[in-house]
């Protein structure tokens, strides 16, 4: 390859040498363009369409790209199939740098073009993969169909076929490459062209109006959908124990436990509750563990399966004059349990007060603490880590309390209401 790359400098000055370089160009580009080996890199939905495009129905091997490689060292094309998030950035950079040159990137789908559906109010999605690595071809779609992927692949092949040994493929390092915003440039060019065309267009419009005085622009008839009936929802079908029995069992053992937003409920009013909405108990923080153990071990309830654990932040936005309302409880920790025997669900929540912390570190400090449920249900492990990651609630006794989804270096707790992040673009409407 070294010799070939020196070819233009040596041969071009010779008489007829240009034709030799052109011929070598054609051969090299033909070979490169028709044997693009993609990396098996798929982060989310688009990956399924990428897989589908390499399967019998669509058969990407018609375009010479069927050799999906699992290691970047054997590939020369990354098809960015799926959203790129902050935690993935370093991995993607490493992968790109491990690719031997010449290397190409196809951004498949709106997420990798601009952030797609995740562009607004989102703290973790990278708003366009071209902020991280250079992209050759963009394929819009969510997800693009396999035909669109092939169109992108053919465009890339066209681009490769225009390369020449006279302008060798340069491995521009990421940090020195100048940032060019092709969209802004294209928009500016478009605007100037429009201005140049404007006088001629105005003239044509006037001429057309003079020649066709009766012309009315076509207006499409609006097709309205057929009217649909306004149906009430039939009474829900409950599963497992009736609400009244559940309520009695729980209240007999824990009189201090009440229903959420329905503190004065008695048996009769509980029986009247819709049967397809699970009961939602409020447990005092002191009785949290005992209550959880009771629900698990009570044979008549048989709440054996740890269904879910999550939290709610009740921080209210400050009033227009900047005043904040103090809260008796900042968080509700919600535990959802399921009975595999009967099929009923029971929710219970524990209100958590906010720890005293200095105001300046309030956004990044752990604000509440609660005993861990991992000794009762090992399935609580990931869920509690998620609640810690998202809300900054510490679970004492958890064997491995680390962030689950966000990077270790992440500051703040995203699902708190006062969370702000520089990457969160507000929706303009």
């Amino acid at each position: 390859m070294g010799l070939i790359q020196k070819l233009p400098a040596v041969v071009d000055p010779l008489p007829g040498g240009r034709h030799l370089v052109d011929a070598v160009d054609t051969i090299v580009n033909w070979a490169r363009a028709n044997s693009l080996w993609p990396l098996t890199f798929g982060t989310s939905c688009c990956a399924i369409e990428m897989m589908a495009s390499s399967m019998p129905r669509y058969d990407i091997s018609r375009f010479g790209s069927e050799v999906f490689r699992a290691t970047p060292r054997q590939a020369d094309l990354i098809i960015l199939a799926g959203t790129i998030v902050d935690k993935m950035v370093e991995v993607l950079k490493t992968l790109y740098e491990q690719l031997p040159g010449p290397k190409y990137v196809i951004a498949m789908g709106s997420c990798t073009i601009s952030g797609g559906p995740f562009i607004y109010d989102n703290y973790s999605v990278v708003k366009g993969a071209d902020r991280i690595i250079p992209v050759d071809v963009y394929i819009p779609g969510c997800p693009p169909r396999p035909e669109a992927l092939f169109h992108g692949l053919l465009l890339l092949q066209e681009k490769i076929k225009k390369e020449s040994l006279r302008r060798p493929w340069v491995d521009t390092t990421l940090h020195t490459a100048p940032f060019v915003n092709p969209f802004t440039r294209a928009a500016l060019e478009w605007e100037t062209q429009e201005k140049e065309r404007e006088p001629a267009a105005a003239e044509a419009r006037a001429k057309f109006a003079a020649e066709n005085p009766d012309f009315k622009p076509f207006k499409a008839e609006r097709v309205l959908p057929p009217p649909m009936p306004d149906l009430p929802r039939p009474a829900g079908k409950g599963a497992g124990l009736p609400h009244g029995e559940l309520f009695d069992l729980v209240r007999a053992a824990f009189p201090s436990v009440v229903l959420h937003k329905n503190e004065g409920a008695d048996r009769a009013s509980v029986d009247a509750l819709p049967s397809d909405a699970p009961l939602d108990f409020v447990v005092p923080p002191g009785e949290y563990l005992a209550f959880a153990r009771f629900l698990r071990d009570e044979p008549r309830l048989a709440l054996d399966l740890f269904f879910d654990l999550t939290a709610v932040d009740w921080e209210q936005p400050p009033a227009p004059n900047g005043a904040t309302t103090p809260l008796a409880h900042r968080f509700h920790l919600v535990v959802q349990l399921l009975s595999t025997v009967h099929g009923h669900l029971v929710f219970f929540r524990v209100p958590l007060a906010e720890n005293e912390v200095p105001d300046d570190s309030r956004k990044t400090a752990v604000l509440a603490e609660v005993p861990s449920l991992v000794p009762l249900w090992p399935g609580a492990n990931f869920k509690e880590r998620e609640a810690y990651d998202m809300f900054g609630i510490r679970f004492s006794g958890h064997p491995d309390l680390r962030r689950l989804l966000n990077p270790e270096t992440f500051e703040g707790f995203p699902l708190r209401k006062d969370f702000t992040h520089p990457a969160m673009v507000k929706r303009p409407y």
Binding site: P229, D308, Q336, H342
Partner: protein, 385 residues
């Protein structure tokens, strides 16, 4: 390269098992996030003794898109289309769960035809998802014919979705009160034709993989998940049923018209990879049964109830759960005043099932870890949300 015995190092984060005190050197391998066998961007750190797995620690978040935070700034209908992108192999089911929660909150009914459309589309999607499982399971065993054949069968259903919803993958078809549009006139005929084709393919798959001695050897007795452990870990779906627990939301807490249809819930006995594989193959047949019944009695009439100009949920908490191909997916909405939710939480079946990975893999070879992970059938964006 000099190997440093693990006994002389601090353990990397997440590893909790005490050292065995054996003379052999333990070592650590990083698998993922870019790895063809982790079904996406799951990162596993393996602690190995020779070729035997001592402990597996999953690292998540490589596709964490902050959907729950984003949902707080969007209306309910805007949130609906984000759920497609969580578990993209069962996007209809995700939509269904959100719609159920909204319908409960606002008292919206669904006409009979709408319920039938939902069941048919849901069951088609279940088959489609299990076909992807079959394809990936085969590929992870090294049987690459399976991935080609599985995707070939999947395309029949994808074509049908294309005709019904105008999209191949992220359909966004259901709305509170029914579906966004009616199905084509020849819908039941097309469903029947697809069912026939899929049925024939399933028979072929049985000859190809189920009866294959290598598959049996690679899956029997591998990745055993005892019944009690499966329940305590919060597993649902085929992973739970593989361990012999008779829990299917369609039977235990039927939503929609599922109580009108005859189908059985296949259960495993040993709780190993083989059982989980067989259950998914059988579930496809049961889904075909449901589809056959639904096509026979497919009613006419309106396909949805009246559309609301805006969906403002009454203050309170609202819950909807459906049985997806991977387990129970639920949406839990905390509604305050206005068109936007105060908080939306989705229960991801894949995340709960992933907790079973470490207990299932301990003591098996590293090659078996790949097949065990395949029988969990994880969808990573669903875990990370």
């Amino acid at each position: 390269m000099e190997l440093v015995p693990a006994t002389d190092q601090a353990l990397p984060p997440g590893f909790l098992t005490a050292r065995s005190g054996r003379a052999t050197e333990e070592y650590f391998i990083n698998m993922g996030p870019q790895h063809p066998s982790t079904h996406g961007v799951l990162r596993l750190v393996l602690r190995l003794d020779g070729e035997t797995v001592v402990e597996v620690v999953p690292h998540l978040g490589y596709i964490h898109r902050g959907i729950e935070k984003q949902a707080e700034a969007q209306t309910y209908l805007q949130y609906l289309h984000l759920t497609d992108r969580m578990d993209y192999l069962s996007s209809h089911h995700n939509n269904h769960a959100v719609c159920l929660a909204i319908e409960k909150a606002m008292g919206i009914g669904v006409p009979e035809r709408g319920e039938y459309i939902r069941i048919i589309v849901d069951e088609l999607q279940r088959i489609q998802s299990h076909l992807v499982f079959f394809a990936c399971f085969g590929a992870d065993l090294g049987a690459l014919t399976c991935i080609l054949q599985g995707f070939k069968a999947r395309e029949y259903i994808t074509d049908l979705f294309d005709a019904v919803c105008g999209s191949r993958l992220t359909m966004n078809f259901f709305r509170p009160g029914g579906s966004v549009r009616d199905v084509p006139e020849d819908f039941t005929d097309r469903v029947r034709a697809v069912c026939g084709k899929v049925d024939a393919m399933l028979a072929e798959f049985d000859r190809l993989l189920t009866g294959n001695l290598i598959t049996k050897e690679r899956a029997r007795g591998i990745g055993v998940l005892p019944r009690a452990e499966a329940i305590a870990l919060g597993c649902t779906g085929p992973v739970l049923r593989g361990s012999g627990v008779d829990f299917d939301l369609r039977k235990k807490a039927p939503y929609g018209y599922y109580d009108r249809f005859e189908f059985s819930v296949p259960l495993g006995e040993a709780g190993d990879s083989w059982d989980r594989y067989l259950i998914r193959m059988e579930e496809m047949r049961q889904s075909l049964r449901i589809l056959e019944q639904a096509c026979r009695s497919f009613p006419g009439g309106p396909y949805r109830s009246k559309e609301k100009p805006a969906y403002r949920l009454p203050t309170g908490t609202w819950f909807g759960a459906v049985e997806t191909p991977r387990g129970v997916f639920s949406t839990w909405i905390v509604a305050e005043k206005g068109e936007k939710p105060w908080r939306i939480h989705s229960r991801s079946p894949s995340l709960a099932n992933l907790a079973a990975l470490n207990p299932m893999c301990v003591g098996h070879k590293i090659a078996d870890l790949i097949t065990i992970l395949a029988t969990i059938d994880p969808v990573i964006p669903d875990m990370d949300r």
